[in-house]
Symmetry: C2
Subunit: 383 residues, 2 copies
């Protein structure tokens, strides 16, 4: 089946703010945050009853710019442009696709680099700790604002998958379908461990300055280290070996230099540095903490009980070479849904691309997603 792939073209980021210092959003921690601002983008148009909305939830380092371009001169399209557009998996001829930057982020939504209304300065590490549930609650304010009674689908990979699951648990009557990619019902111990190393590198960088570094270059060395270790966990050994192997960076012979010798070292170092140009170190801390906290069983009880209250139908997708969120973690969700006689489809996609596969393996995912969304229209027609 050939799919004609077109772009959503030029899109305009939008802003929505809710709450205030007097009427703040109460976070899972008990702390208050307000006003809260969200940056979001939409692709496609709502139908009259606004029943065709698909909410895209981004991963750790993502943002609201999921498809299209902002400026005619942009060389790069949004991070999931392969999946969103006319005739694509999230078909903008049929669906109204929405993506918002998470709170705690640094891409326009309220986060540690936002101004603290109490001081007139950036929050820094005075920003309250947030959870995946808090991210979802903020999105729910936006969904209300957009006049959407029930999301046709919530979809996300990795931390986006956490949000998609959380939506169906926290607001069961507001979600018709969930697509959860490369995620799990909790962050694993190993996942927490890798996040902890990253945060350690940032917070021990003297330039972190206890989190109040705005106006200075900030902990770019620590953030680069954090990104490097995380980047390894996103790639499979197969991909690393195929892409770099033991190839030397710039010579036929070993240079016996204390610095980068192998191509994979230079690549990681480059990725680390580039990341510091586009991401805020405090946001990295806050968002990884939110991932650490994610644990459906802790919040909603044992998985079998937790999923008893959900109403959505689910598509759960794992990837064979993903070792950060191995297939077994997806199966755990699937088993809990089956135990509750819920409608769930599960696919373990054979891919060498590791955790990043959810961003890369779009051919297969397009077929699976399209079929799942078509099926989801049977129980909730788009009219």
């Amino acid at each position: 089946m050939l799919i004609e792939r077109q772009s959503v073209g030029r899109v305009e980021p939008r802003h929505y703010a809710f709450g205030s210092a007097e009427t703040p959003m109460v976070l899972d921690s008990g702390r208050a945050l307000g006003p809260v601002e969200l940056v979001y983008e939409t692709y496609g148009v709502p139908n009259e009853a606004r029943t065709n909305a698909i909410l895209i939830c981004h991963a750790l380092s993502g943002d609201a710019h999921a498809a299209g371009i902002h400026d005619p001169h942009d060389k790069r399209v949004g991070w999931w442009d392969t999946m969103i557009g006319p005739g694509k998996a999230f078909d903008t001829d049929r669906y109204w696709v929405i993506c918002a930057n998470v709170i705690g982020g640094c891409k326009g939504s309220t986060g540690p680099n936002s101004t603290n209304p109490a001081t007139g300065k950036p929050f820094g590490s005075d920003f309250p700790l947030i959870t995946i549930g808090d991210m979802v609650t903020a999105q729910k304010h936006l969904v209300d604002h957009l006049g959407i009674e029930r999301l046709f689908c919530v979809v996300g990979g990795s931390m986006g998958g956490f949000q998609a699951l959380e939506w169906s648990l926290r607001y069961p009557d507001r979600v018709h379908a969930v697509i959860c990619l490369a995620a799990g019902a909790k962050l694993s111990t190993q996942g927490i461990a890798f996040n902890a190393v990253g945060r350690h590198a940032i917070t021990r960088d003297p330039d972190w300055q206890e989190g109040h570094y705005y106006g200075t270059p900030g902990p770019v060395r620590g953030l680069a280290s954090a990104r490097m270790v995380a980047h390894i966990t996103y790639l499979s050994e197969i991909v690393l070996d195929h892409k770099f192997g033991r190839r030397l960076q710039s010579a036929d012979r070993l240079s016996y230099d204390i610095h980068n010798e192998f191509a994979v070292e230079s690549y990681l170092s480059h990725q680390g540095t580039r990341f510091t140009e586009r991401f805020d170190a405090n946001s990295y801390i806050y968002i990884t903490k939110a991932m650490d906290y994610f644990d459906i069983a802790r919040t909603y009880g044992p998985l079998k009980d937790a999923f008893a209250a959900v109403q959505a139908r689910y598509l759960v997708v794992s990837y064979t070479s993903d070792w950060l969120f191995p297939t077994a973690q997806s199966k755990e969700i699937v088993r809990a849904l089956i135990a509750n006689d819920r409608d769930v489809s599960f696919v373990d996609i054979d891919s060498p691309h590791g955790h990043d596969a959810f961003l890369i393996e779009t051919e297969g995912l397009t077929r699976i997603t399209s079929a799942f969304l078509d099926g989801s229209q049977r129980s909730q027609p788009l009219e």
Copy 2:
């Protein structure tokens, strides 16, 4: 079979120096190093012909103190005390067991924290890059000095396994048997990647001071980060999950604090800090570089050809949950040996302990090793 496990008791570290500024050791890089000092320990006694010597090669953070105690008040025994002693796998009633600290190390042998004879100050980052081959060549000087014509066995796990393999390739007529645990014929791309992150954390720590930090506290934050990430790779997900899971560090409820929340975070952080008290950051850089360089095929040609010249018999051991040196990497060695009709035994030990299993799973290893060493006496009796 019950094995009576006794200790080798109190041992005295010994020193051996060879070479000089005028007659240095020429390293694989082409650079010169001399004089070279090695710290080593011996357990058991040589037989008359000195044919009963077993050389133990230590891993990245190991040292010459493999068994027994230095002082009657020592609370800790040597790092492989479970394997070395009267009646143990490396039976000191029968074998003369030797362990030397590698060059590049920081436990007494010549390394970056040694005095540079050219300046009278510590080498720091002026120390030349070394290889596994250089470590082995230095050990060969010691073996010559000790009057050993042919080592009965060379054994090591992880980087120690690299050295054991290298011994049999570089000095084929000097090794009767090789035991290679949790290693491979090269360091994988992922292995290089993790090492690169560790070195990045150290060298970007301002306290590294381009490697000339002796007399100051040094890059303890960077070294702690490096150890934390490496430590994760030594443990399996199973062990992490079983040992820590998502247990909180110090409370029944989430504290929503920016610092350590989960037990695994505190554990890693503690491991990182402790490591800085016993290890030199420059040695960490030099030894991980040596591991990166290890690639039998690069040095000796395609594995099948490389192992054509060896004379030793081999025991190759992998561990089912070791993801730093997965079983497939051991099998690669085994296949090359079989292709050359060499005497090789291979065991994949079922263990949840990940890469660290070679230090932990000593029951099974004792049985396998004892049988292999007994078998090795058939072709070379100890008289």
